[in-house]
């Protein structure tokens, strides 16, 4: 497990952490890392547990808001850091239990998660005024919450994490989460999760409590999304209702579908590439950003429903098989879930 899952991530991840800031601006890289973590959260629950959540932005926003509110109340940032992970996880556990124990799936799951995001969006947007206050933190409605404490170096409260140090911290977390998910997927729980994705009924007949397992997976995904939200809040130094918006949810799905659901690396790469593209497109005003994103999503669904990353892998295998000297490759057997309904 170590050699196959942990080592490659470290071999690629650690040098990347030091090389990337030389090539790109650390400020941009930090937000791309937060996006990558967010994509990873959806990539995990969609690609491996088969839960298509249309409202992953809700947990992202919830993480960011929890961080901001807790930081304003506690005055320091490390307690809130953990709260930002815990609040979305608990929320998702309760909400997920409500859904999965009711056996909602496909469209209905998509609708309900979408609606939940909208509720949070509408609520946060209309939360201006004195009465919407949690402790010392005013929710601030449309304008959001500015001016909270951000993360510092744990042993030196005067030294804030920002720019490059924030990037190292975020990227380190991304690599860590990636490795943890890889390991999780190799453990019995992860194996069973993939089994549920492939055939829910069969997994259930074999004695797995699919409702509980889906709820747990949903909650893990939300915790990662919350962590991404916390990093985003530290980067932006303000949280606004736009974090909960439909556009944000759509973007996460686009990252995952373009990168390739069913892999862990795909969504990360998808988020980084598309996030950077968006950043570049934002610098010109000729073509609207949303338009490009939408067209990418349509084309990805129509032409590359498996995502770019798995398609490249398949192309690679296809090329290998064409080489006369190559040994016959063992094809991956069985239909994957993506052939079935996506």
């Amino acid at each position: 497990m170590f050699a196959r899952d942990v080592l490659p991530a470290l071999i690629i991840g650690v040098p990347a952490m030091f090389v990337l800031p030389m090539l790109f601006d650390a400020y941009t890289l930090t937000v791309l890392t937060a996006y990558a973590l967010l994509a990873l959260s959806l990539g995990f629950i969609w690609g491996f547990a088969g839960i298509l959540c249309f409202g992953q932005a809700a947990f992202f926003g919830l993480g960011a808001y929890s961080f901001a509110i807790a930081a304003l109340n506690m005055g320091s940032a490390w307690g809130p850091f953990f709260i930002a992970i815990l609040v979305p996880a608990v929320f998702a556990a309760v909400f997920g239990a409500l859904l999965f124990y009711g056996r909602l799936s496909d469209v209905y799951l998509a609708v309900v998660t979408l609606v939940m995001t909208l509720i949070l969006f509408k609520f946060m947007n209309s939360s201006a005024g004195e009465i919407y206050k949690l402790g010392d933190a005013r929710l601030g409605g449309y304008n959001g919450i500015p001016g909270f404490e951000t993360l510092t170096i744990p042993w030196d409260p005067g030294e804030y994490l920002y720019d490059e140090s924030l990037f190292y911290f975020a990227f380190g977390l991304l690599v860590l989460v990636y490795i943890l998910l890889r390991v999780l997927l190799k453990m019995p729980f992860g194996r069973a999760l993939v089994g549920i994705r492939e055939n829910e009924q069969r997994a259930e007949l074999m004695g797995y409590d699919i409702r509980l397992m889906k709820t747990i997976a949903f909650s893990i995904g939300a915790a990662i999304a919350g962590l991404a939200g916390c990093l985003f809040a530290n980067w932006a130094e303000i949280v606004t209702p736009a974090l909960f918006s439909l556009g944000q949810s759509a973007e996460i799905i686009i990252w995952v579908i373009v990168g390739g659901a069913g892999t862990l690396l795909g969504p990360v790469v998808g988020a980084a590439i598309l996030g950077y593209t968006k950043f570049l497109l934002g610098q010109q005003s000729l073509i609207d950003n949303t338009f490009v994103l939408g067209v990418i999503l349509i084309l990805a669904v129509l032409l590359l429903p498996q995502g770019i990353f798995p398609s490249l892998v398949r192309l690679w295998h296809w090329l290998l098989a064409r080489l006369p000297s190559a040994a016959p490759l063992r094809r991956r057997s069985g239909r994957s879930r993506r052939d079935k309904d996506v």
Binding site: V111, L114, M116, S126, I287, T290, F291, I298, A300, D341
Partner: protein
């Protein structure tokens, strides 16, 4: 007494708006099991068609009731041929592709019309009712919703085209064995649903300040009205629009519009949890 009448009209109006904005989506979902997440942008497109043609000198009723549905229906035909037809039977993929379409349309409309809000004046003046002022246009919206619901019911129940459409919905293979091309039935159904969306967009145009992102205001409500309604097109949409309209309007009158919308969405989640196949999946089964 007067107040009760005004509240009654307001509640009817809220229900009517839900019926109008969800009718097109209900036709497409009920008949084709396709969820068009770009429905909100279809409405916005209808609104722009009405406003632009009115500003170009077309009579306002003609602009709202004829031009808007026509424009959106033509657009719907294009969308069906270019995107939807490749994805039949793959519900989640259709949702994703139409979500992409929604973003693309939003972006395209931003590029064309700019990120500003436009609007036209309501063509019907308000009138006083007892001590209260009532908007005449709201009554027009209620009338239009009734026309749409009754028209849809009659079209599906009494006409030959409606019969074929319902047949294709129940068993596409059998329909094609009888010599009707399902592909054509789907195309016409999608165009009809788009036309209804355009009509709703046109009728709503004088009521809302229209901007390229307006679709987001409609989509959630239309979406849950249809999903919560279940498979039956007319009775499902009417039942859930009635329920949601009363709830949201009651909360709006008691508190604020934001709370009204949140109440609507919360009820929708609870309802879907209790009746996962929608209202007509449980009650009025098999109706149109």
């Amino acid at each position: 007494m007067d107040y009760a009448a005004v509240v009654g009209v307001e509640i009817f109006y809220a229900v009517a708006v839900l019926v109008l904005i969800s009718a097109g989506l209900a036709v497409i979902f009920g008949m084709m099991r396709v969820i068009n997440l770009a429905h909100g942008e279809f409405l916005t497109l209808g609104g722009y068609a009405a406003i632009v043609s009115h500003q170009a000198g077309v009579n306002i009723y003609l602009a709202m009731l004829v031009v808007a549905p026509l424009v959106v229906a033509v657009f719907g035909v294009l969308v069906e041929r270019l995107i939807i037809r490749w994805l039949y039977g793959r519900l989640i993929n259709t949702m994703l592709a139409t979500w992409g379409l929604s973003l693309a349309m939003m972006g395209a409309m931003t590029m064309i019309f700019g990120n500003t809000t436009t609007g036209i004046a309501t063509p019907i003046a308000g009138f006083t009712f007892g001590r209260y002022q009532l908007s005449g246009y709201n009554l027009f919206v209620i009338l239009m919703a009734i026309v749409v619901a009754v028209g849809l019911y009659l079209a599906l129940k009494t006409t030959r085209a409606g019969l074929i459409a319902r047949g294709a919905m129940q068993n596409a293979e059998m329909t094609s064995a009888f010599g009707y091309s399902p592909s054509r039935v789907y195309l016409i159904t999608f165009a009809a649903g788009s036309a209804l969306a355009g009509l709703a967009g046109g009728v709503m145009a004088p009521l809302v300040g229209l901007n390229p992102a307006s679709g987001a205001n409609y989509i959630a409500k239309a979406f849950i009205t249809v999903i919560a309604g279940g498979a039956s097109v007319v009775s499902g949409a009417l039942a859930s629009a009635g329920l949601f309209g009363v709830i949201s309007q009651t909360f709006t009158l008691l508190t604020t519009p934001a709370v009204g919308e949140i109440a609507l969405l919360v009820v929708a989640i609870i309802l879907l949890r209790l009746l996962p196949t929608g209202i007509t999946g449980r009650f009025f089964k098999g109706r149109v």
